[in-house]
Every structure is written in structure tokens, then in C-alpha cells.
């Protein structure tokens, strides 16, 4: 309760101490979280998730790090705020009852207030100080402090008082988040970055093709290195997830262990006898070539070995996949029941590609699978460059965790023609298997070949395969694929 007595402004070691926010990915970007005992500025336009970010900081602090917190709300009342964040799974009332959280709604109504002479904001200090001392708060959020500029007319007094407030917060030793509206030509509408400049975080909403992607950028972090890119982030029932662009880069561990492909004949086409664990596999093919069966058979083989597999379905519902795969004698249901197989299904248009990846990142963190199937990546729309950047992140994220990943991709019916998605991701993939159709003598034949397989030699043959009641299997090599009767482009 008496953080007043500890000289918190001077950390014991010369290195800047950090306070974890508990927000997935954010602590990774900032190498530990927010600067301890200082104020961070969080700016962004309306609806960017500033409040949610602040609430998450306090809730995570109270529940995971035993740091009580004070939320000073200049906009929403305590009941409104409690209701609004309930959808994220946060029970603020419970935290309030347990003295882990105080919400103080500060109402500034210009029409009610007459200004007659010199004043200061000591009332705010008194309230905040009282709240901090009552529960021994270590974390404070002021959301949105700039409302004061709308409520009070004397900007000179306000500026002097805000400067005093930030110094006072520092002397209290609390780690604070100050939220502010994005301004024209500057970070915040009222230039708060002039006063709070130890750590500045920018939130942004970008709309492409009617799909919104939320982005976060650490503009400044005094005394610490940090990721400088724009990172997509996601707000949903699981709270906030920030998808870091691969802090691991290409330094991930490489394993020699092999993972079967799940389709007997294909193991034999790869000289090592399977995929290397942690590698990324692209399976491209036209409609009806059995890409989903390919993915499902892989998932089945993973689960049959007792390992976990996470299946991202972007075109079919999990039930539909389970039902359809029964027709090829694959019982996926039993793996789901055993907790080895999990489906995550979402329409690609639900949010931007990067948002999906942010969600996938979190799902992978939670489920900790040994293998992942993404079916299909071609369902996503967007500029090839962006898809490439986003896939790079997910591939690196999976590689860093030694997770083997099978990505399916729908290519146009014409043989060997690549889609933008294929082209942009193929360089990221360790193994690329192409499924194609050959039409000859009034019959359709399905064929596949291994386009590349890094780190091992592979068969150069185009092999015919059959989709039967028993699933996908290759015909013996002596069955040569017929020459197409179509004139190829």
C-alpha cells in the first residue's frame, strides 16, 4: 500500500525495468512490456481499440501479475465500461469487488461549468491519488485525458496541469497508459506527445477492400529497443492479440526428424521418406483435385501418432469436413474427441488476411499443435505483396515452434498456371506438391508431382493418383499418365 515510500523512480539496475501488459505479442515487440513507473502514450482515432488496450493492461495486471489498477474514464461510466468489455471475457465487477480495480468516471460537462478565475486540476490529483492509495495500485489508465480540453476552456492552465500530472504519476511510481485521439499532422490532437514521450504507441485502422485491419506501431520507446514495424492486431472474444513480424527471423531451429505425409506413395517420392519436422508444405491444385483430402490425411496421420494437429478451415465448416472425410474412410471425429485435432473455421472475408493470421497465431499459442493444416490460403484476397508478408509471418511463427504446416491453395484449372497467391508464397515453402488434372480419351486423370523439396531430392515423375473410398493413394509408377488430348496453353 505504501509505494509512496519506495523511491520507485530509480530502478535498482541501470537497465530499464518493464511491466508486462499481458497482451499476446505486444510484450514480445517491446521486449518485455511498458516502461515501469513511467507513462506511455497510446494514440489512435476513434474505434481503434484504445480503451480495450487499456482495460486489458489492467485486467491482465490484476489477474496475472497481482498488480492492482485504476481506470480513470473520461468518457464511459463504470457500468457502461463493465458491460462493453464483458464480451472480451473480462469481469470488471469481480475485480472491483476483490479490490484489484477501481474505475473512476470523471465527467467533464462544459455546459455545467462556469469558469471564474484561477483554478488547477488538484481535484483530479486528489481523486486519482485516493484511488491509487486505496488499493495500492501499480497500474493506471487515463482514458481519454484529452476530454479535458473539451470540458475546460483555459488551455494554458490545462497544459501546465497535465505536465504536473505526468510528473506526479512518475513520483507515485505507477506505470500508466494515457490514451489520446489521433490529431491532424501530429500524433495527438492536443500535442500530448510533448509531455508523455517515454513510450508512444500508435493504433490504426486500415481499410482495404471493405475489410478492416487493425494495426499497432511502437513509435518511440526511450531507453529500449523495440520492433519498429506496423503489426496487425486483433480484438475478439480472446482479448487483444498482436501478431509480431517474426522476432525469430531465420534463426529458427532445424530438425532432422521426419514427419510422414499421410499418403504412403508420396513419402516414397521424397528421398528422405517424408517431410522434415517444422517444414512448410504447399499443396496447390485445381478444383476437385483432392487438396482437402490431402490435408485431412496428413492431419489424420499426425493424430494417429498421438500428436496434436490444428486445422484451419476457410471454406468448409468443421462438421462438413468431418462428414466428407468419412467418405474416404477417414474418421476425424475420434481425433477431435480425443483432443488431438482441433478445427478453427472462419470465412476469409470475416476480416483481413492479417487479422486471420493474428487469430491463427493465438490459436497456435493456445493449442500448441505439432502440425497445422491451412485449407486453403487462396481463399484470401488482397495484394500479393501483403499476402506474402502475412504468410511470411505465419510460416516463420510455425517454423520457430517446429510445427509442420500444410497449406493448400486453389490454382486455376489450366495446368501449371500459378495464382498470385502461389507465386508469392512458393518461395517460402520447403516442399511444393502440385496436383493437376489430365483429360485424355474422355477420362479425367489426376496427377501430382513434387515441384520442389528443400534439403532432399525428390522424384521427377508425374504420378497418377486415385481418390477412392480408402482415400488418396498413388498408382504404381508403371501407370504413366496419359498425354492430354487438350491443347495446353
Amino acid at each position: 500500500m505504501d509505494q509512496r515510500s519506495s523511491p520507485v523512480t530509480k530502478p535498482p539496475s541501470p537497465q530499464l525495468q518493464k511491466v508486462p501488459t499481458g497482451i499476446d505479442g505486444f510484450d514480445e515487440i517491446t521486449l518485455g512490456g511498458l516502461p515501469q513507473g513511467r507513462s506511455a502514450l497510446l494514440c489512435g482515432a476513434a474505434g481503434c481499440g484504445k480503451t480495450v488496450f487499456g482495460v486489458t493492461f489492467l485486467v491482465e495486471g490484476a489477474t496475472r501479475f497481482d498488480d492492482p489498477g485504476v481506470f480513470v474514464s473520461f468518457e464511459e461510466t463504470a457500468p457502461d465500461l463493465t458491460t462493453n468489455v464483458a464480451s472480451l471475457g473480462y469481469d470488471l465487477q469481480d475485480l472491483i469487488d476483490r479490490h484489484k480495480l477501481i474505475i473512476d468516471h470523471v465527467q467533464v460537462e462544459r455546459s455545467e461549468i462556469e469558469e471564474a478565475g484561477e483554478y488547477d486540476l488538484e481535484g483530479l490529483f486528489v481523486r486519482l491519488g485516493y484511488a491509487i492509495d486505496r488499493i495500492g495500485a501499480k497500474r493506471v489508465v487515463l482514458d481519454t485525458l484529452e476530454s479535458l480540453f473539451a470540458g475546460l476552456s483555459d488551455a494554458a492552465i490545462l497544459r501546465a496541469e497535465l505536465r504536473r500530472l505526468f510528473a506526479w504519476l512518475k513520483s507515485k511510481g505507477v506505470t500508466a497508459i494515457i490514451t489520446a485521439e489521433r490529431g491532424e499532422g501530429q500524433l495527438t490532437r492536443h500535442g500530448l506527445e510533448e509531455y508523455v514521450s517515454d513510450c508512444v504507441i500508435l493504433l490504426d485502422n486500415q481499410v482495404y477492400d471493405q475489410i478492416v485491419t487493425r494495426r499497432l506501431r511502437v513509435v518511440k520507446y526511450r531507453g529500449s529497443s523495440h520492433g519498429t514495424n506496423e503489426y496487425p492486431f486483433l480484438i475478439d472474444a480472446g482479448g487483444i492479440t498482436v501478431l509480431p513480424i517474426t522476432s525469430v527471423g531465420l534463426a529458427h531451429e532445424v530438425l532432422d526428424e521426419l514427419v510422414p505425409t499421410g499418403i504412403a506413395g508420396i513419402d516414397g517420392m521424397l528421398s528422405a521418406g517424408g517431410y522434415y519436422r517444422g517444414s512448410s508444405i504447399l499443396v496447390s491444385g485445381a478444383a476437385g483435385t483432392g487438396k482437402t483430402i490431402f490435408g485431412a490425411q496428413f492431419a489424420n496421420s499426425v493424430c494417429a501418432r498421438g500428436e496434436r494437429c490444428l486445422y484451419f478451415a476457410f471454406e468448409e465448416s468443421p462438421h462438413q469436413i468431418v462428414r466428407n472425410m468419412r467418405s474416404v474412410s477417414l474418421d476425424l471425429r475420434k481425433h477431435v474427441d480425443a483432443g488431438l485435432l482441433a478445427f478453427k473455421a472462419a470465412r476469409p472475408s470475416l476480416h483481413g488476411f492479417e487479422m486471420h493470421l493474428a487469430g491463427m497465431y493465438r490459436d497456435v499459442e493456445q493449442f500448441k499443435p505439432a502440425a497445422v493444416v491451412v485449407d486453403p490460403i487462396s481463399a484470401f484476397r488482397g495484394p500479393a505483396g501483403e499476402i506474402h508478408a502475412a504468410l511470411l509471418r505465419i510460416v516463420d511463427m510455425l517454423k520457430a515452434r517446429c510445427i509442420t504446416a500444410v497449406f493448400t491453395s486453389l490454382s486455376p484449372a489450366i495446368q501449371h498456371q500459378m495464382t498470385d497467391a502461389d507465386r508469392s508464397v512458393s518461395s517460402l515453402m520447403d516442399v511444393w506438391i502440385s496436383l493437376f488434372d489430365v483429360e485424355a480419351n474422355g477420362e479425367r486423370h489426376r496427377g501430382l508431382h513434387v515441384i520442389k523439396s528443400r534439403g532432399m531430392s525428390n522424384s521427377n515423375q508425374s504420378r497418377e493418383y486415385l481418390l477412392t473410398d480408402e482415400g488418396m493413394h498413388l498408382r504404381d509408377p508403371q501407370f504413366k499418365l496419359p498425354v492430354s488430348s487438350r491443347s495446353e496453353v
Binding site: E112, I113, A116, G117, Y119, D120, E122, G123, L124, R127
Partner: protein, 103 residues
């Protein structure tokens, strides 16, 4: 600290002055308020001074932010005037003692 006037009638103006300690501004505000009330509301007012350094929990109820703040609770509607009350005109307008000038 209460100063109730002897004949507190129906139209008595209940005033509450929030301050934080004996600062220059709070001393000035109280002095200005007393002078003004004697001049315009003699015998029809009460002044309650609340020192938030003693009772910080009282700040939330009246939504106190700036100090000093003068709150008129009665008669309704609720009125708030912030500052050291040196601008007598503004205080009188704020308390509805003098009509607001049309701009």
C-alpha cells in the same frame, strides 16, 4: 466550517466550496465568495467548505476535477463554478443572480 444564516428560508442558496488545503487560490476563493454572498445574498445562503485533502472520497460525488470548485446544490439545477471566484461577474451569472448577457 458551516455558516448557516439564521433564517434559512425556502429560497436559501446552498453553496459548497471544494478546496484542497489552504492554498492561495482556496483562501482567495473563500474570501471572494463570502464578500459576494454578503453583497448579493445576505441572510439567504449557507456555505459549506470541503477540504479534499481531509476527505478525498468526497471528490467523486460532485464530480470534482478542478479546484477550487463552487457547487450550488439548491435551488436546482446544479451549478458548478470553478476558479478562485475573482471574476465576480461570472460567479453572479453562474449562480443565476445576474442574467446571462446575450452575446
Amino acid at each position: 466550517m458551516n455558516e448557516a444564516s439564521p433564517q434559512a428560508a425556502a429560497e436559501t442558496v446552498h453553496l459548497r466550496l471544494y478546496v484542497a488545503g489552504q492554498t492561495e487560490k482556496s483562501v482567495a476563493a473563500l474570501a471572494n465568495l463570502r464578500k459576494l454572498c454578503e453583497a448579493h445574498l445576505a441572510g439567504k445562503y449557507t456555505i459549506e467548505v470541503i477540504d479534499l485533502t481531509q476527505n478525498p472520497q468526497l471528490a467523486e460525488g460532485d464530480q470534482i476535477l478542478a479546484l477550487p470548485t463552487l457547487v450550488r446544490r439548491l435551488p436546482p439545477p446544479l451549478k458548478k463554478i470553478i476558479g478562485d471566484l475573482s471574476n465576480t461577474e461570472r460567479v453572479l451569472v453562474g449562480l443565476d443572480i445576474r442574467p446571462r448577457e446575450t452575446p
